[in-house]
Amino acid sequence: MFRYYLELAVRSLKRSPGLTALMVLSIGFGVAAAMTTWSVFRAVSGDPIPWKSSRLFVPQLDIWGPGNPAGDHEPPDALDYADAMALMRDHRAVWQSAIYAIAPMATPTGVGRMPIPLGGYAVYGEFFPMLDVPFEYGSGWSAEDDARAAPVAVIGDELNRRLFGGIDSVGKTVRIADQDYRVVGVLRPWNPQPVFFDVPDTGGFTMGGPDVFLPFQHALATGMANAGSVNCPKGVALDESGLAGLRRSNCTWITYMAELDDAATVRGYRQYLDDYAREQQQLGRFHWAPNNRLRDVPVFLDHEHVVPGDARLSMLVALGLLLVCLMNTVGLLLARFLRRSGEIGVRRALGASRGAICAQFLVEAGAIGVTGGALGLLLTGLGVLGVDRVLPVWMAGLARIDAVLLLLTVLVALAASLLAGAYPAIRASRVQPAWQLKTN
């Protein structure tokens, strides 16, 4: 029966190619616009580390007191030096790391080679197992390396290719900011988006992944400048530039992440943060009650509004377009089906049930949907490839074509056309056979 209906549908669609093209175009354009913007939205709102994000937490301490930073009761999203070091010393989580952004220069060996500007982070060795950072060669450094501020480095895949031609460079020496570092690990291409371990500096998204990781204590000891943002409470200015000034200030410039594996440890850590704040209150550093936050990665990303407004807005606009296209298709299908009232009358008179008529027209609507979906696929493909022309470059770079996107495009087109066809089909099945036969 399905094949017969399909034949009928194709024959009827061929009879009015203009109207058919109109419906197919309408569904195709609507679906393509919605899917292209969705692919971007999916990329920017995604969970960068889905298998672990609910066990990774960002502690926030209210170190500035009421009225800071913007009059709400939210503590700052990063830590100052004193508190970050206190949390590291107490070491209450399974893994934890203080993190600050660095941007040193690497000097390649060989005459006449230009220095390479790097982007990276000063972290503790625990950073790598905590975030499941993928290594191509070697591994991170040990707690002992952290303790004695050893000159070791983990370099990114791209830097390894530029400096060493992509070979296993573990044990080799790399010269960064006029210091020699021993390479202990080389990463696989790794650039999680959003950059969940450094939202305050990146706003969530970066073009390239980090080039280098250096031990936090070594970076401090050599005075490697902070390349991230610095926020100070009202009325405070740095009296001295560089790391020395930052370390003495209560301005925030260090991000922090801790792994807590179950509800009990999370509770314990919350308690610990509050106890710490209370202790600071007793010491006279804080003049206010503890006001801390401990958010896991998804909640923190949401709190920081990392999903750009433009991505949401363009998806809303595209959904509006899809809705208009859908209405349009409903109208056209209705016109098309009811024009064939005579044919319906004859079929009903010959014994076809209402359900059969309904099924016949739904198959026809579905056929339009599948064709529209195919067109939508083509347009979505073009859209995702050409999206860098219509969306910010870094955002567009995240959009990609995969099986889920392709499948969903066809499904949305089919669902849209069936939805659009439902009312017209029911309406068509209600045609009175006797009346139709009489009037014609």
Binding site: S241, G245, M327, V330, N440
Partner: protein, 401 residues
């Protein structure tokens, strides 16, 4: 034109009529908001900026030894000044729209509570001339003031500054800003001149209030200066930039240089905004096309259904004009209903967007303008089917279909 028969007939085709009305309403609502967003973003792209945008090129230098800045910067400047076509050159810390916000909070009294967050620029000798600042009142810095000013903890150790017109008005409403003093953290600076509005380094970050809230400090050659600003005639700037890059790469072999014309920097800053405008325009065009074709499709269907009635009307004396008018009026009624509903919807969507995103209130005139646009679109779309209806010969009335 009698509209009662039209209403009666629409009542019989309630569903298709409702569909057209809804489609027009949705199109109207989306169109209003999309056009409003386009307008807002176009306004962003055209923010005025009182520097010589067409004549400036900028070279950013990274990786030099700040310890040598005092001798290297004057040496580099002499070399750059020697390039044919360069009319002015200076070193500075940052440029408008270079996405590298440097903000400082100032007060107008020593113990002031309310601070104004201003974008801070430090200019080396000749900086105001190289940028092409428009002096409105007072004077620019003199040589002593450049020599006297250092850079410490993101503040100037000098005693003078220039403010923009917007800042002058914001800080000292209805007063002359010249000679007034700005304070921050125990330091103070006297306003020696007021210049026309220059954009902040990152006006999107600074927000509407901070867009033109900008101050300029003089600065002696210092490691904090990463930009060389070259001014030339617009037709020379590509060559000047190329020659300047060559000269600097010889003088600073270890440094990483990035050169751009200011026009190019402005283009880069607004690239995102421009992309969004294109996308919104594309959506608007597709949507209007879809709506128009939808109207054509449904009206054609109606015409086809009513061939007999049309024939009868023609046979009892209606002219072709009458038939045309019937369909045009019908479309007008449907469009009106759609547009009224659409305006309400557009307003609602705007309110929603205002509460969720950084959108401002849509000016009221967007509503009637897009209403007229959809009316026209409807009339255009109905023209074809209405013509076909008018062409139905009266003899149809006497024949079976």
């Amino acid at each position: 034109m009698e509209i009662r028969p039209i209403l009666a007939s629409l009542r019989k085709h309630r569903i298709p009529a409702t569909l057209i009305v809804l489609e027009i309403a949705l199109a109207c609502a989306v169109l209003c908001n999309a056009v409003f967003m386009i307008g807002q973003r176009m306004a962003d792209i055209h923010w005025p900026n009182a520097i010589d945008e067409q004549g400036i090129s900028v070279i950013t230098v990274n990786g030099t030894d700040p310890g040598h800045a005092a001798s290297d910067i004057p040496r580099d400047l002499i070399a750059l000044r020697g390039i044919a076509g360069v009319t002015a050159v200076a070193a500075g810390t940052s440029m408008p729209l270079d996405q590298n916000p440097a903000l400082s909070g100032f007060t107008t009294t020593p113990d002031g509570k309310t601070t104004v967050n201003s974008s801070v620029y430090f200019l080396g000798r000749g900086g105001p001339q190289a940028l092409g600042l428009h002096l409105l009142e007072g004077r620019i810095f003199n040589d002593d003031e450049y020599a006297d000013s250092g850079f410490k903890g993101f503040n100037s150790t000098g005693h003078v500054l220039l403010v923009t017109q917007s800042d002058a008005q914001r800080l000292w409403p209805n007063q002359n800003a010249l000679g007034k003093v700005l304070y921050t953290n125990g330091r103070s600076w006297t306003v020696v001149g007021v210049v026309a509005d220059v954009l902040a380094q990152d006006p999107k970050f600074s927000g509407p209030g901070g867009r033109y809230s900008t101050v300029f400090f003089p600065l002696q050659p210092d490691g904090a200066m990463g930009d060389y600003v070259l001014r030339s005639a617009p037709q020379d700037r590509a060559r000047v930039l190329r020659e300047a890059m060559d000269a600097l790469s010889k003088l600073e072999p270890g440094a990483v240089l990035q050169g751009a014309t200011y026009a190019g920097m402005r283009g880069d800053y607004f690239a995102d905004t421009r992309s969004m405008v294109w996308m919104l325009m594309l959506v608007c065009v597709v949507m209007l096309a879809v709506t128009a074709f939808g109207i054509v499709g449904l009206t054609s269907f109606w015409v086809g259904q009513r061939r007999r009635q049309i024939g009868i009307r023609r046979a009892v004396g209606a002219t072709r004009g009458h038939i045309m008018q019937y369909f045009q009026t019908e479309n007008f009624l449907l469009s009106t209903a759609g547009v009224v509903l659409g305006m309400l919807l557009a307003f609602g969507i705007n309110l929603y967007l205002m509460s969720r995103y950084e959108m401002s209130r849509m000016p009221w005139y967007y509503l009637p303008v897009s209403a007229v646009a959809l009316w026209l679109l409807g009339q255009l779309a109905v023209l074809g089917p209405a013509r076909r209806a008018a062409a139905v010969p009266p003899v149809v009335a006497t024949r079976g279909v």
